[in-house]
Symmetry: C2
Subunit: 551 residues, 2 copies
């Protein structure tokens, strides 16, 4: 048999769906073409890379948004045998420099505009030798760069693509960890093959040539959740929404192209809904929105369903699992359940995807019950889960175990990578139907008297009060109970709500025992946030100045 490589992912759409459309919003307007034209351009890109001596062993970085040139690089780079390293354009300068140095990228494909200006600003600190601007021409600059379109124009499509092997590194992505330096992971040709096929299955994202797919999740986030590969193999129509798309841009593309399926973090869909509320818009083509990163608010899910007949599908995944690792849909036998009951399933992260195995374990490494209540850390393994971090034996040792803790007394020596489990850092419950739900991050869960209290559950319950704008709950040290929850709440301007009132609300709202209730609820001016807008609980804990033995 042939190796598992990206070659058939390129063969199938270019030969069987040559006339199917590809659409991209770019910095200078909408670009439309077909898989046939895409195929010729990718072959030219491979020729250009090969011509410059780039291939197996070389790492080529990209720094850009979702458009057709970036999409072509997703194929041209790994089809040349080289490795595609997608860098997050939203990162801070220090992290960008660190990542480029760590990965030792020597060629960079960069968007014009803001991303190019960032690279220009950091140029003296970057080890990069060759720069390609993903545009018609190179902006005025001192950097010796070439325009992507010139590169392609100079090279005839390569007729016979170079042979590939399945263990070649084909992709690379850094986690945007909130603590410490971003960690790099590498994806081989085989891993991308396996993950993209899984994504195509009905239990995955159920992709076919009938879909008109618009991946809003950036191409610098874990291969855009594998859409560029899975949707291409399926022969689907694809719509790439370009640089920093706002709700109006997305709506325009949905209406214009008849998008049936899209994917991204909850904020995007909240903004889209607000935009449609204010300005109107036609979402009738849309059937599904895949939501990951964090959970969508129940009310948003309900509104899309009831008002627009759009199903929001929660998914879970990590950089280390190549994105999608579970999807939540009611099972066939739940077809006669009422809306409320199926909505409760839909708001979870769902059923583990084909190819993966999981264990959920407590602090002692004992498996927790699948009762929808008992929480533990999620461990996963499978051919689409990485088994190490790049250049980081320390992080690899911390985040991977060769056996679930506690299962086998022996050491982790002597097991093959096949036996390795990834410690996801996600605290989850699994219900009787096998649906997993992320209740917290391991570093944020509050460990009180041997039991775990979900900071996220408390925050959601607090934020359900109309006077609460933001709520963050952290664990503070406690002599008797090890840790106890403390809540910080930002209230709406003009609100006179006080702690007792909030405590009553929480007791009503929270479907949990009394000992889950925070020992203190502080009303504060603001809650510190990270660069990506998440609560920065580390900084918050430092600010709190709490007394450990306040009972």
């Amino acid at each position: 048999m042939s190796d598992l490589t990206l070659r058939p992912f390129f063969w199938r759409p270019t030969n069987l769906f040559p006339e199917t459309r590809l659409v991209a919003r770019t910095h200078d307007g909408i670009h439309e073409y077909t898989y046939d034209a895409f195929g010729r351009r990718v072959r030219s890109l491979v020729a250009a890379l090969t011509d410059r001596g780039l291939g197996p062993g070389d790492r080529i970085a990209t720094f850009g948004w979702n458009h057709h040139r970036h999409f072509e690089a997703y194929f041209g780079v790994p089809l040349s045998g080289a490795q595609l390293h997608t860098i997050n354009v939203m990162l801070g300068d220090d992290d960008i420099v660190h990542i480029v140095e760590d990965a030792a990228d020597d060629c960079l494909l960069v968007d014009p505009g803001e991303p190019f200006r960032t690279i220009e600003r950091l140029w003296d600190d970057l080890p990069i030798e060759r720069v390609v601007v993903m545009a018609e021409s190179v902006p005025e600059t001192d950097i010796d760069a070439v325009a992507y379109e010139d590169l392609l124009a100079d090279h005839e499509p390569m007729r016979e693509l170079p042979p590939l092997e399945e263990d070649l590194p084909a992709g690379m992505c850094y986690t945007s960890g909130t603590t410490g330096r971003p960690k790099g992971v590498e994806y081989t040709q085989k891993m991308i093959y396996a993950h993209a096929m899984m994504v195509m299955t009905p239990a995955g994202l159920d992709l076919s040539e009938r879909d008109v797919v618009m991946p809003v999740v950036p191409m610098f986030h874990v291969n855009s959740w594998e859409f560029p590969y899975a949707a291409t193999m399926a022969g689907a129509t694809q719509v790439y929404p370009g640089p920093s798309p706002d709700a109006a841009d997305l709506l325009e593309l949905i209406e214009r192209e008849g998008v049936t399926m899209t994917a991204g973090v909850p904020t995007v869909w909240i903004n889209l809904l607000e935009h449609v509320d204010e300005h109107g818009g036609d979402l009738s083509s849309l059937e599904r929105i895949v939501v990951g990163g964090s959970a969508a608010p129940a009310d948003i899910m309900r509104r899309y369903d009831e008002e627009f007949d759009v199903t929001m599908e929660h998914a879970w995944g990590m950089t280390e699992t190549m994105s999608i690792g579970s999807v939540s849909r009611p099972k066939a036998r739940m077809d006669d359940w009422d809306r409320e009951r199926t909505a409760a399933k839909r708001k979870k992260q769902g059923l583990l995807s084909p190819g993966l195995e999981m264990r959920v374990v407590d602090d002692d490494g004992e498996a927790v019950a699948w009762d929808g209540q008992s929480a533990g850390e999620l461990l996963v393994r499978g051919p689409t889960v990485v088994s190490e971090y790049y250049n980081r034996p320390d992080a690899t040792a911390a985040d991977f175990v060769s056996r679930p803790v506690g299962e086998t007394a022996g050491s982790s020596e002597g097991f093959s990578p096949s036996e390795k489990w990834l410690k996801t850092g996600d605290i989850v419950t699994v219900d009787e139907d096998g649906y997993l739900e992320v209740v917290d991050r391991a570093k944020d869960v509050i460990k009180s008297g041997g039991e775990w209290i979900s900071s996220i559950a408390l925050e959601n319950a607090l934020m359900a009060h109309e006077a609460v704008v933001e709520a963050a709950v952290v664990g503070v040290p406690h002599e008797k109970w090890q840790e106890r929850p403390l809540a910080c709440v930002v209230t709406a301007g003009g609100s006179t709500i006080d702690e007792p009132e909030l405590r009553d609300h929480l007791a009503d709202e929270l479907d949990q025992p009394d000992w889950w209730l925070p020992d203190e609820i502080r009303i504060v001016e603001s809650i510190p946030k990270t660069a990506t807008g998440k609560f920065d609980k580390k900084t918050l804990r430092g600010r709190l100045d709490v007394v450990a033995d306040d009972e």
Copy 2:
């Protein structure tokens, strides 16, 4: 990452769909249970095999029909690290003995009844040491055999399954070639993983937990077209129809279990339709029938569609491609075509499945046009295509090329197995939309004056006449044209049709140039057939006693 093995195929349904039903018709009635019970029994089977020292390096044969015990062996054997070798119970004695000797099977799982009697009859010629009868008890016999149920009862479910590697041989199947000895092919754990995931995708057979699947294609035919693995990973309800199921058996299972999807050769579905015509029956649950092996008659496809709202989906595949390699469905952009036009697509073998690549070449190795007319031999490659025959370097040399003939002048030395193409022996056309259609077998196509004439097309046109019961067309040597077609026709009892009349019919019916018409149409008593009921053209050619230069 973990290796690509069958382990997650076992993990997912037993953990996420434990309550989903598995149903089997057996020699002593209907057996019903769940994935949960299945999981425990498979773990007991692995324990029993491991206990007997069977594992990696061992080959365990099965000789039986589609039922739950055979299904358990599909998992228990490869999960133990051993290789599952499924033997066709319909083969002649010589072939059975040859296959068992060639594969050196040392353990055999056999059905009670006819299959067991066959093994008993051949016992002295078989190198087998251990026999397990897939039943409650062992029939009276001199063979030292153990009952499958006793084996399981003696072993507690194994808690921690043994580690597996992706390159372990996990399956084996022999082709039922009409010429020469059957040839064996081996499937690794990785190949089964890759093929079963492909089968699950919407472009494959589109399997989900919502399906109630009844694989009628025997489990001794190319892993029952991968249903036992793909449907299990999907978490589908599965119905196994047991020993020699007839139309009444199938109808009963469809009605009883609400089967939504089934699969098998055309004869099965013709018989089912006749049965329903005569005795009535409820096919309302049925949505799809996957048809392979040969093409279903257009009228049968139309009747299932119009009268029962059941879509017949043509598929193409071979033992060497692990079954399914293409499926025919109209594309989304054909939705507004009329019924006749889409039916013309559906009767083809369709679009190549994800993971494969193909080339269609003429005798000189030149690619033929994708015009729906130009015929050539189909070459395929991919991670689900074997790259050799077991123990048969001669056949491997004949049926695999390292480059398509003619593409590269050099020798085939120095290429990796990844570069190998399988010569399928199928003569196909590919139309402008990429749909392939098998028009003949390479050994049967008639090569006349540098052009190819499809024997199958002539036979179908002849058989479209109501007075024609059977028609076989072969090429006979011809001095000027190399070969010319000669047709042998069996007419209906009492018919007085003669050659001129048949020739007129053929000229009307056949949408091809005049030189396609046979030089002679002979009315004969019978046409010789192979053990599996196909026309035996080799014997027919020998009988014909044709003169080469009859012009």
